[in-house]
Amino acid sequence: MTARAGSAAADVAASWSALSAQVAAGRRFAGLMGTQRGDALVLSAHLAGPGGVTTTDVALPAGAGGYPALTPVLGAAFWYERELHDLFGIVPEGHPRLEPLILPQPAAHGPLPRLGDHDTVPAPIWPDEHSVPRHVLGPGLFTIPHGPVRSGVVESIEYLVETPGEDIPHLNMRLFYKHRGIEKRFEQLPAADGVLLAERTEGVASVAHALAFCHAAERIAGTGDVPWPAALVRVLHAELERLTAHLDVATRLADAAGLAVAAARFGVHKERVARLVGRMCGSRFGRGVVVPGGVSALPLVGPADLLAEVGRMERAVTADARVLMGTASFIDRLRGTGPLRAERAREHGALGPVGKASGFSDDARATRPYDAYTALGLGAPREHGSGDALERLRLRFDEVHQSFHLLRQAADELGDASDGPLAARCEIGSGRAVGWAEAPQGEVLYDLLVRDGQIVRCRPRSPSFHNLVLFHEVFAGDILTDFPFIEASFGLSVAGVAL
């Protein structure tokens, strides 16, 4: 190693220890990403805390093939560094298990998308699906491949369940099947069109992704606050999205437990929310509503109708939730299933319901409020901590309750304030900013770099990507039949992980 490379490595290591000191002091590790700048790679680490997200940029020397890994000092970087290795061919030296994650390639350092380098149009990459990782060895142990085409209507992912027959001592995940090259696609779009792709990055969190993207874009444009009616409409759609996602989890859990009537009723509740969203904006997923600077239009459903419908839904959902949580055969399947230890949740900075149910909460709506959340009352959060599938469902029902509360406030306010412009001026020129929003699954983070109105680099970090790695942790003591409960209780989307 030359003296120059040696000193660069020392610089990187110094940055990492500064980062881990900040995490130890209470900030939350929110992600690590790379940007190609010519022959050099710039690593950006994000830390979240009350009031905002800070970014540390570490530039590696041009042509560097490796750098000291962050994972040994900050375990939460585990998947982020594997992803860096896949996408940029860079080796985090000292990483405990550098196996392919997002893009297994037939030959090491094959064609790379070179994210951040606008001029590179990558050659097609066809992932190699034949190398199967295996970690637990012993007599009678075998691997059950579960996916990528699984039973039911679900997204493509492969779980490799390593088992002696019933217990699940270890589980591997292979995510590359639906890698769509989203990040590279962003680089071909004008900043104003980026929000359309953001909405399609993770379908079950379309509104949250659009919000996080627009918050970043608005910061670059110096827009400031969006008009008040627009801020309220954004909250309405974000909370309806949360309702849909949580009702979906309840449906899937009830279905896994064989409670046909409960699954049917929660399915109907979910359909009702989807129809309300569809009536409000023409899309059942709230797409096309959020635009840089505000919203595209007021809801096509008036505030009075909205309030009435929200009230009807609240009564129906609350009653069924109470009965579901009192159904002994159902509770028995969830209690103690897939527990995530509080300590692990905190170390990892687990997002959304997964973190909250284990006693770690960093809800962007409360700690880094945006849009109308700055003024609306979220209510005091209830204590959660046991971290099993039951606690995660209990927490979701609490959030459903909170969402109804927010919907009523926002619809009320909108009735008084629906005059005036719906979008502030938002000319996205050049600059870089981070935007965030609390999706039903947790915080979505966008790191956006724009030059002359053209996206140079856009990295969406979905809560699913951050949380899914915790799947490795929650199977201790659980058996194969617990699998559907644990998976449903996490409520994540593969689209946001594989990008």
């Binding site: 998308p113 990459i125 990528p148 039911g152």
Partner: protein, 299 residues
């Protein structure tokens, strides 16, 4: 007694009667953007026909500039020129962002209802070319011959080939009591060996090409493939092939699933709602009643 027994009866029948009876939700749905029947940009038609005369050339130039301006409205590249017919929209590329409808309501509008699916890829281009109307009858006859044996016991297998996750939600909604797909003799199955219809979502991610091919090959004949969603039809915003073109998508996707499996029914939508998926299924099976929707599923 379990409290669920009475709760199950509480709201009465919530299930739609569609397609036997019309359903207002299906009929008032806002489908992909389309070209209005009469619009000012139709002037381009005459100009393209005119040859030689200087005035004709100037008019042609103005018309092509106008067309380019219209095409630039669409971030997904769905708007283009139809030779001799002025401006055309490829519904298979529409991501329903609504920009064209908002900026040029005199030229573009939403296609009403849930009958978005078509039996040919070319059938998704509006206005339709004359020859596709003729070809449609042959396609329909061929499909009917294949599906005759399926009758009222049809099993579906879904494969996600790189979707954003929303299409899965809408397909799964078919199982809820509002749509209750089982009442039509249509069921989901886990095994490709038991499946008659393959629902494919997503832009055709390269990683899913092999698993998708194996699933398709594992299905017994006769089998049908439905591309569900704009991504599956054309790659959508992820980039890919326009109708008639052979774009290759991106480094990670194939520009729709049409190059990976033989698609029988093309259903655009971002994502298509459950009624549109139901319509596509019945269109594939030749079980749409003659009344509610016009021929070919296109308004």
């Amino acid at each position: 007694m379990s409290p669920w027994v009475l709760r199950g009866l509480r709201d009465g029948v919530v299930t739609t009667r569609w397609p036997g009876r019309p359903d207002p939700y299906a009929d008032t749905w806002r489908g992909p953007a389309t070209v209005l029947e009469h619009h000012p940009a139709q002037g381009a038609e005459g100009a393209e026909g005119a040859e030689g005369a200087g005035a004709g050339e100037a008019a042609a130039l103005a018309a092509s500039t106008a067309l380019a301006a219209l095409a630039a409205l669409c971030p997904a590249g769905a708007i283009g020129a139809a030779p001799g017919r002025g401006v055309a929209v490829d519904l298979g590329r529409c991501v329903l962002c609504g920009r064209c409808v908002i900026r040029r309501p005199d030229v573009f509008g939403w296609s009403p209802g849930s009958a978005s699916a078509a039996l040919t890829r070319a059938g998704l281009v509006v206005p339709a070319a004359a020859e596709t109307e003729q070809g449609l009858a042959a396609v329909r006859a061929g499909l009917a011959a294949r599906t005759r044996a399926l009758r009222r016991s049809v099993h579906l297998r879904h494969v996600d080939a790189g979707s954003d996750g929303s299409e899965e939600q809408e397909i799964a909604a078919l199982l809820n009591p509002v749509y209750d797909i089982g009442r039509l003799g249509i069921f989901f199955t886990a095994s490709p060996r038991h499946a008659d219809v393959l629902l494919v979502t997503g832009a055709g991610a390269h990683g899913m090409a092999e698993p998708l091919r194996r699933t398709y090959e594992g299905m017994p004949d006769p089998k049908l493939v439905i591309a569900v969603g704009t991504d599956a039809v054309s790659g959508g915003l992820l980039g890919g092939a326009a109708e008639g073109g052979s774009g290759s998508g991106s480094y990670a996707t194939s520009g729709g699933v049409g190059t990976l499996v033989p698609v029988d029914v093309w259903l655009p939508g971002s994502p298509p709602p459950p009624f549109a998926i139901l319509h596509a299924l019945l269109l594939a099976l030749g079980r749409l009643p003659a009344r509610p929707e016009p021929e070919g599923g296109r308004p």
